[in-house]
Symmetry: C3
Subunit: 260 residues, 3 copies
């Protein structure tokens, strides 16, 4: 779970019920290198082994979230079709899919640059809070290449078609208030409080039913992957007798806080 | 069409071309009880027998729209899988599906609490106007259970994925101006004018072609249920010779108001 | 490519890498006549023969974008089912589909009235800029008829379900700031600068990789037509060895502007 300092790393720290994933690539605005994508997949997969976890904050080290891919690596592999496919389908998608498959609520804490890979990672999160000066885009049309299909689908679904087109076709850089108005960001706060905002939201998640979170995430995931609701009914009510279900309703009726 | 006062009721009143459905559960912020879901389905179905109707306003009695489900009923049935499935799939979905299948434009007039079942009922309406102090959420993660799949699909489609996640994973309560900015609400007005706003919009609907409304609603319903547009073409132009079609165009060309 | 002045025309002008399509129907607020729909399809198809093109601005002549269909033609054909179907499926959809199938970024420059056919044409564009006093709607419920299924799908997808319902079921006319807030418009500017705004955006597109634009548009088109991302992978990385890909990355790494 430890990358070379040269090529960046994904830090994972656990603080009680909250995990903190940090994208760290000093001197490169936390650009994602190939080792970092692989580390991201492993780090997120490892969360499943920690049943005490209830929420995950995804952040960048220092004053930026993630400026995109590590372009210095690109000449080594991007001009060969098989290697390029392997990079996008196995490394990049491996990391993003790990996030998408995570049953814990993911909170993106976004400061500074959130570009390309940064927008994709943020798009995998359930809740997104940003500092007011954060800036978003996917200006790869300047780099001469398109976004991969799975990544387009993810970004267009989460940011909206209009924003995806503006990012991809115009290499637009969009500010945080605009993306709050368009419904991508849940909150925009002063830059020096974005960590507090993310922590507060993570804390609130930890007081709620983990069962409900897990099942709601599974339903939402299946729906965005194209399932029809009636295909999800077989297991939809298996939670009926679950202790959290009983506790939540009992607590409400007895006017006490639930303990999940 | 009449429920016990103890468990709430759905009032249906007809005023010319406009029907008014009122969710009424005094002392419980109009929470939906099981009898009310069944009454809702019957009341909406009965509208099809009244060809003079052109629009429906859906409101709550007094100062609230609907605070959710009637939790006092829950211990009686929710912990048994079959009973829980029956509740969601037959009672709740029966009421919501009746609204979704209604060919008349539905206008939600939203005041005060609009939570859980309230958000679901509002999500079935075509137009949504709210008082500025109305508050929205689906904080069932506090009650220890997830939203049912059909209900998630409905709420996520209408409120947007980001809002659905915030409601479900964070038990967030969201204000009316935010939901107007995110495109769920069509208008937010001072609390004491929300009934007027809904009535004005209903009145405007009554001056338009009922044929157009019915066919547009059918097309939109089929599309959100997953139909491809080319599957809808067989009957798409059967209205060609309809009197309303002739009247609308004739009125326009003769610079007079149409009479539908 | 030249229509009778009586029934309006579509002007196509080429200025270097930028094409300008102008909807022109003097005295009728640029309403689309049947010949204009056919001209539109031909004009857009002809762009494919001009490899030097990089962006297209779609505008209306004078102070309006397009006020809808040319209703004076309607009595001649709309009341016959076969003729009505032919109009929508062949003429209207032929024009819209040509725009949707265009691989060049399309920028809608919207002033004044943008109604019915105008909203549909704008919905086919990738980027949409409007003057602050532009007004949008599809008030055909006043004309006694519904929107055709393919057109509903297009408009609902691009403007959002809530806006589509408001336009179709309430014959609402919506202002530009509201449609910017709802994410349909990318920019709203003073009326006398809308042409400059569109030109600036077109110019920015011309500096980016045409390969990236073409492939991104194809991916987005396939996705909105219902393809799953994994169905798009076979050809997704065929660009690996393309000169634009090499140029973009080389330029970045050498800190120089790319030349595409």
């Amino acid at each position: 779970m430890e990358g070379s300092p040269v090529s960046g790393r994904i830090d994972l720290r656990i603080d009680g019920a909250i995990a903190r994933l940090t994208i760290a690539h000093p001197g490169k605005l936390n650009a994602m290198s190939r080792p970092m994508w692989r580390e991201l997949a492993l780090a997120v997969a490892s969360l499943a082994d920690r049943p005490a976890l209830r929420a995950v904050v995804v952040a960048g080290e220092g004053n930026h979230f993630c400026a995109g891919g590590d372009i210095s690596e690109y000449p080594d592999f991007r001009f060969d079709e098989a290697a390029l496919r392997d990079f996008h389908e196995r490394e990049v998608w491996g990391g993003l899919q790990a996030l998408l498959n995570c049953d814990l609520p993911l909170i993106a804490q976004i400061a500074g640059h959130c570009m390309g890979a940064g927008v994709e990672i943020a798009s995998c999160c359930d809740l997104r809070v940003a500092g007011v000066s954060a800036r978003f885009g996917a200006p790869i049309a300047r780099l001469g290449f398109p976004m991969a299909p799975r990544e387009v689908e993810l970004v267009a679904r989460e940011t909206g078609l209009a924003t995806a087109r503006e990012m991809l076709l115009q290499a637009a850089v969009i500010d945080a208030p605009t993306l709050k108005a368009r419904g991508f960001l849940h909150a925009v706060v002063p830059d020096d409080t974005v960590a507090d905002e993310a922590a507060t939201r993570a804390w609130r998640v930890t007081e709620l039913s983990p069962l409900a979170a897990r099942l709601n995430k599974r339903t939402l995931r299946a729906l965005v992957q194209g399932a029809r609701p009636d295909e999800l009914l077989a297991q939809a009510y298996a939670y009926a007798d679950h202790p959290e279900h009983r506790e939540g309703i009992d607590a409400f009726l007895n006017k006490r806080p639930p303990v999940f």
